[in-house]
């Protein structure tokens, strides 16, 4: 996978309540509506201006808080290509990969990337490029990359069940 797009940069401990508020979790179910509420309490300009492929950049512990999967899917439904952070909260990390959204822990890149600049994520060479340089990240395990490439866990399991 190869993504080149604009970076939206945020800070440390970006939590699931500001990514997708809890008050919507049982009542907002349509894709477009989920997309519209993305990052609502963090950056109200995001949902209206996000472009397909855009990269979200966060600091430490990105996605901490709730297990709500919409924190990942609301980004997917906005076309986000990847999330790059210094570190991830574990449930968000799983939710992202399980929905085919690349989540890359790379502290050096997360620090170097400037808000609004163009960023390239290359999963074949495991590098992130921005004006500040080129940064290598550790590859995902083959099985987890298989889930991402299948388009997410559901698609992956469907295939497995069909083959069984």
């Amino acid at each position: 996978m190869h993504i080149t797009s604009r970076a939206w940069k945020y800070g440390d401990n970006i939590n699931t309540d500001v990514i997708f508020p809890g008050k919507y979790t049982y009542t907002v179910t349509e894709r477009a509506e989920i997309a519209r509420h993305a990052l609502e309490d963090l950056d109200p300009t995001f949902a209206a201006n996000a472009q397909p492929g855009d990269v979200i950049v966060g600091g430490r512990n990105f996605g901490c808080g709730s297990s709500r999967e919409q924190a990942a899917t609301c980004l997917v439904y906005n076309g986000v290509g990847a999330v790059v952070a210094a570190s991830f909260s574990r449930i968000f990390y799983r939710n992202a990969l399980n929905n085919g959204l690349l989540a890359i822990a790379c502290p050096a890149a997360a620090e170097a990337i400037q808000p609004g600049e163009m960023v390239t994520v290359d999963t074949e060479r495991h590098v992130i490029r921005c004006a500040g340089g080129e940064f290598v990240f550790p590859p995902l395990s083959a099985s987890v990359m298989g889930i991402v490439q299948a388009g997410g866990l559901v698609a992956y399991v469907k295939r497995k069940l069909a083959a069984a």
């Binding site: 401990n13 309540d17 508020p21 979790t25 309490d41 512990n61 901490c64 570190s87 574990r90 497995k160």
Partner: protein, 438 residues
Amino acid sequence: MSGQTFAQKALARAAGLDAVEVGQVVDARPDIVLSHDNTAAIRRIWQEFGQERVLIPERIAITLDHAVPAPTTKHAQNHAEIRRFVQEQGIRHFFEVGRGICHQVLSEEALVLPGQLILGADSHTTHYGWLGAFGAGIGRSEVATLWATGELWLRVPESMKIVLEGDLPPGVTAKDFALRVIGDLGADGGLYMSVEFHGSGIEAMSLESRMVLPNMMAEFGAKNAWVAPDERTVAYLERGLRQRMEIGDWRLGEGTQSPISNLHSLLPDPDAQYAAVHHYRAADLEPYVACPHSVDNVVPLSAVAGTRVQQAFLGTCTNGRLEDLAAAAAIIRGKQVAPGVRFLVIPASSEVLKAALERGYIQEFVEAGAVIGVPGCGPCMGNHMGIPAPGEVTISSANRNFRGRMGTADSEIYLANPAVVAASAVAGSIADPQDVIA
């Protein structure tokens, strides 16, 4: 081979392996899979698999607790869809509106036993560590996958050991200890870790206090957390098991495992490897408050005493149990909630409510001007029953104070122990219980 941590032993057991290494990815088969009001959404994902029946209905537990009774038509439709699913699939571990918060209810029902693995579509599934089980939060697609296949990949985590020595001073609670740890080490201090609690301070704690610790570790980034089960834990679980035996529960038929039989095999080895060890002396702790908008923004109570509040909330899976209500009742007895303050008291379960009624706490709360809510999550995650107005300040016994958590972005949440919440309700501002009683 070096000694094994609790996480290694529990995940080896769940994966049907003799031993596992840290970092190894295993296919684990949980004993219980938990979901709540999010079950309807999970069902829609599960339907994509084209299965007619879930694989093992006995392993599924579902509670209605997050927005109960339904605050809107949409919430009611969501609940109705869940009830249909439960009926269709013959799911017996289903707990209706008013029974209580998932983690409290599954504990009371003894649906999770020491050493077992529970995975739940709820971040505070770490809670079950209080009884020596491995509990971890997962996403909705993962629960759907477990319904369909019974197994899920998990990475065996590194472990962190937190040791508490000595008895907590009067007025200092397990909540304060948890806040202190998170304040010291940060909201990501335990990221990906299995956090084990050890030491005489933990052994001395009441069971209800122990429950607070693994629950709060979700705010520490932990994958799971663990407290050693002892005879008191077993007695608690046996009470729940007996009650279920009376209603003829499946688990007490063939293949039932006594909680005692699991107990000793899954204790961490003395020579297990830890990524970090932190020592605390109970005598050094004091009451703490987590300030807006992050749970690691922790200061001593004295630093924020006097901050005006419009709402005080006592409840949640963290601090909505009998001992929490008892501590609050002791403060509020014979006093009144301050003018301009709403004091919401929401017991964590119907059992807690019943016991609090028997002991007269509910009477005392009502006489003091408090509002009693239906057992459940209440306003913890901003669905209903106590959403603050913009600009308002809430002091809460919950575990999370993110911006917007209670439904209003432009409002502030302070987290504290139950006595401090009650004292603040009486004073109208964040208060030390000592000053309110005096």
